[in-house]
Symmetry: C2
Subunit: 416 residues, 2 copies
Amino acid sequence: MTNASIITIGDELLIGQVIDTNSAWMGQELNKAGLWVNRRIAVGDRWEDIWKALDEASAASGIILITGGLGPTADDITKPLLSDYFHSRLVVNEGALQNVKYIFETVLQRPMIERNLKQAEVPEVCTVIQNKRGTAPGMQFEREGKVFVSMPGVPHEMKGMMTEEVIPFLKKKFELPFIAHRTLLTAGVGESFLADHIQEFESALPATIKLAYLPNYGMVRLRLTGMGNDHAQISEETDARFTELKAQVKEWIVTDEDISLQEALGKILKSRRQTLATAESCTGGYIAHLITSIPGSSKYFPGGLIPYQNSVKENVLNVQQHTLETAGAVSEETVKEMITGALNLFDSDYAVAVSGIMGPDGGTEAKPVGTVWIAVGNRHTTETRKLWFRFDRQRNIELTSTNVLNLLRKFILSQP
Amino acid sequence: MTNASIITIGDELLIGQVIDTNSAWMGQELNKAGLWVNRRIAVGDRWEDIWKALDEASAASGIILITGGLGPTADDITKPLLSDYFHSRLVVNEGALQNVKYIFETVLQRPMIERNLKQAEVPEVCTVIQNKRGTAPGMQFEREGKVFVSMPGVPHEMKGMMTEEVIPFLKKKFELPFIAHRTLLTAGVGESFLADHIQEFESALPATIKLAYLPNYGMVRLRLTGMGNDHAQISEETDARFTELKAQVKEWIVTDEDISLQEALGKILKSRRQTLATAESCTGGYIAHLITSIPGSSKYFPGGLIPYQNSVKENVLNVQQHTLETAGAVSEETVKEMITGALNLFDSDYAVAVSGIMGPDGGTEAKPVGTVWIAVGNRHTTETRKLWFRFDRQRNIELTSTNVLNLLRKFILSQP
């Protein structure tokens, strides 16, 4: 199988001021195309570090994809470096120049400065990949059968180039094997327990099919990957094993597609033609954000309320003042009343409600930081759970949201 | 300056099923401690790839930090590999064993299986770093003056170990220089334009102080980094340059601290003892999520509404049916009425409102995908803007949210 290396360039990655989401996306797309990413390296804007990374990557892989360091500012040195690395010199590329002018005049409608024109310079030996979304052109080099592609670090510019130019080119250039992924998502079971439970299944897998455990947000995704040259055979074999795997973990399955919990929930609601509303205090809109991150969610999500202060719980959701005073805002009674309030306010079939203490402050002895009450329900019945997370604010919010969505999913499926 | 390498291990990183947020956090913490991360490499669960990464990292850096591959499942091979790499053998560590038992009996309250006990095995030559948050112990090795530390990939376990054990140890072991960072955030100006505007400032910087441009979410962060052994001198020099820089970019400054836009906004609201409510249609709760990601935001954020369907805009926010029918949901008139509705519903000093088409579907010729109307206002006046983004759904949501928060920030500062 042809291996690919990813090199990302920029001090901001090493110092951690920017999280590298590009590499993850590139890994997914390359893998789908039948390429295995065998290393991914990030280096700073230093000549010798980038040079060394290029040497190492080309020793390890047949394809070297580079992102970043193509900006117009002085700290960006990728272009002159690549020019030297391939014993070339910088020349103005007419197509790139037209593109820079077009971007400034038509898209940005901002005056262009001298510095921007430098963006149209490329090493003479490269094949230019025009950037339809920005000013920095992509550059492709070949040496001893290996392909090097340099792309901007701006995510949507890189993604456009990869999808429209780079992946199609690599598919033509290399004879890529067929890769079949089958993924399912489980919730409510630990990685170790799962591994023990399917130990025999795993050890009986043929060499062409691999199993991976991908824990995330308190859930575990299981992925089978089949690889080979016979498209039909690999698909069939992977499907057969996947059926077997699903049977073995069926009590914990959220979905047998490679989709998120919120997408799985959306599919259920759509197929039942039912709607959902949210009333979230401590998660502050994150549950609604997850739901509405799915295109088409307006079909089943009329809306949500974030009653962050108690006055809003009282005035908009009709939670009783008495309840807030006696049981408190973080209580089973309150989230139950929030469900009723949300069903009424949004006229929805289902509602979810959360109230808790996400930290780092605000805890008491009786209700320490991380205490959350969650509820899901409809007009007839409501289910509640008390949760306790001991992580940081962001992770507490994420785990609470996941628990709410999964509890609702099970609740809906239990309804006639 | 002592260099550090970060090695992250796991197929899930290369295939992109997990985004590597650990490395960014580690880079930040190491940098604060006076260590420069000069490379960061991700490799899969393959013996020879991990081995090679260890060889390369120890050639490049004095400190090698490793995360991942310590789980209890068969695909995790980091521990036996490290044992071989340091010519050792696996033995049970009594402290780690007690910890595994404690975690299962007291924290998880789940039955422990044989596989979990394997977690207590470590290479005989290592110094064990006990893991207070999980079952996989950390391991520290030294060879020829270089330090190797292996930690679990689970973020909060790794973070705990780094903060409590690894960073304090490295500070003692190495003589670390002093690093001073000064960061400011700008909005409404492009990277190229900024670079031209402060070109003279940048070229006049001494060798001990570096300037970095960090564009993100349509804003540009500028960071000055001073480095040296004289704490007081470096602080003073960096402060002086920072004052100069602030003066030069003052018309675009959002904040001169290393904080987010939402945190800067929160500080303004807190100092004015005023409150903010949100009414967000197309951003689906993301603006409220940003606001409530800041601890203590309940002081100035009574709550928000997500009127995702028009019926909620009408029934809860009192947007006129006539407005929705004639101007449409995505219009200046609608977001203006949403502001009034939100101010009334939440009894707040300010409100923000958004309505738009985030894609990938739902656009028309008059209102293509990416069209968004935003509004900010108080009881007396409202400001509106029409935006048009041409990115993917997630990025459209993020950029809209940033624009709303910055427009509100400027609006508040313009009020008496």
